[in-house]
Subunit: 233 residues, 2 copies
Amino acid sequence: MTEERGTVGPARRRGLADEVADRVRESIFGGVYAPGAQLREVELSRALEVSRGPVREALLRLEREGLVRSEWHRGATVTTLSPRDVAELDSLRGALEELAVRQVVDHASEEDLDAVAEIAARMDRAEDEHALVRYDIAFHDAVYDASRHQRLREAWQAIRSQVHLFLLTRIRVSAADYLTHIPGEHRELAAALSARDAGAALDLFAAHRRHAFDVLSGPGTAAEPEGTRDDAS
Amino acid sequence: MTEERGTVGPARRRGLADEVADRVRESIFGGVYAPGAQLREVELSRALEVSRGPVREALLRLEREGLVRSEWHRGATVTTLSPRDVAELDSLRGALEELAVRQVVDHASEEDLDAVAEIAARMDRAEDEHALVRYDIAFHDAVYDASRHQRLREAWQAIRSQVHLFLLTRIRVSAADYLTHIPGEHRELAAALSARDAGAALDLFAAHRRHAFDVLSGPGTAAEPEGTRDDAS
DNA sequence: GATTGTCGCAATGTTAACATTGCGACAAGT
DNA sequence: ACTTGTCGCAATGTTAACATTGCGACAATC
């Protein structure tokens, strides 16, 4: 995600838990564990050849990203996104992106903006669908990085994986639509940010989200009452 | 925090990690561990008479709340809020509260609004400063609960403890100011929400934050250069 | 005297065994 | 046939011992 670029970067070691979290995350995005699937600690620890400690820690971290939900003595399962969840992600993304745009316009360096533009430009070189989605997420990562707002980045990371999951579903619904719209939109977005034009960027981001939301929310999994799903936290 | 009210609530057991997290959090808010203090795993596990496992898990959870920061092989320390951190909290709160107000106006039930109003009314009955701050936080909790937006609530919880820390510092700077302004503002806020007047509520929330921000950012810890010209949100 | 290399301790990271819990299967009773 | 009670297993929660790492102290050298 964000690697220090330019400076040397303090070469800190990562620990097994991070490694495990990465592997499991990629497995989920790769389709090994479908939404709703159980993630058993012993199974993972055997497969990755580590003990249950780091696996537990990794699952906790994935839970923080919303990729996994777990209940007391009932283990962890891969998050499933209901229509309501998708709506929540959409509105929360909106709030965060709005702040991000303002922060970028005010505080981003030219290097930050160049990085955003470069990722937008690179989208064409995606080999397959998964890579395309990865680039999509990377673009948004770059925007949040450019905001120079640590807590905003953390808030984004708390829904990032869920958005990834969402996009994966979306591209499966209509890959063609995705490919024809997103790269261009990203380039426009990057241009508006480089020009530090907050108004234009805000409008473009709103359209960008609306587009994504409509595709999946329209024909895909629209009707489902879903009554109430709250729980205390 | 959020307690099931009305319904029975599925009586789930909590596990030691949650208990430990609560105890440590209260210890921090109670001043036992000052910002910057080290939280040693063995020390905590001895004090709370549990093993290091649950303590580790609890520290991870507190890290998710931003109350604690930890680095590889260097343990956990209580978060210290720099002026820049305060600015970040302020702007992020702004983004979240804006969404919250919209969601409340659109989706909250009358019971939700009553709960908000009741907490606002109850603020006068605070015995000491700590209780006052607790009520302050509880008010905002109620607003987010009323938004009926799970992920928004989670985003709030990711900064909630830091805001708590911030308020604790603030009330120490000028308790009188706090007491004369906040309860009234909360009541106005509750009234605007009950009237489902989004515009008024938005303005009031902005003023509410600005007030808190100015008190601490002005005379308190202002002088630090910090290289940033911070926003007006 | 300042610098650099080595050593040791203290704290975290990791592991594996033990305890507890929840769920489903099976059986007995109505 | 449906309900109810018991049992057993499988998975998570917890614990304590072991391994690794980073930092500071001390000493040797220039």
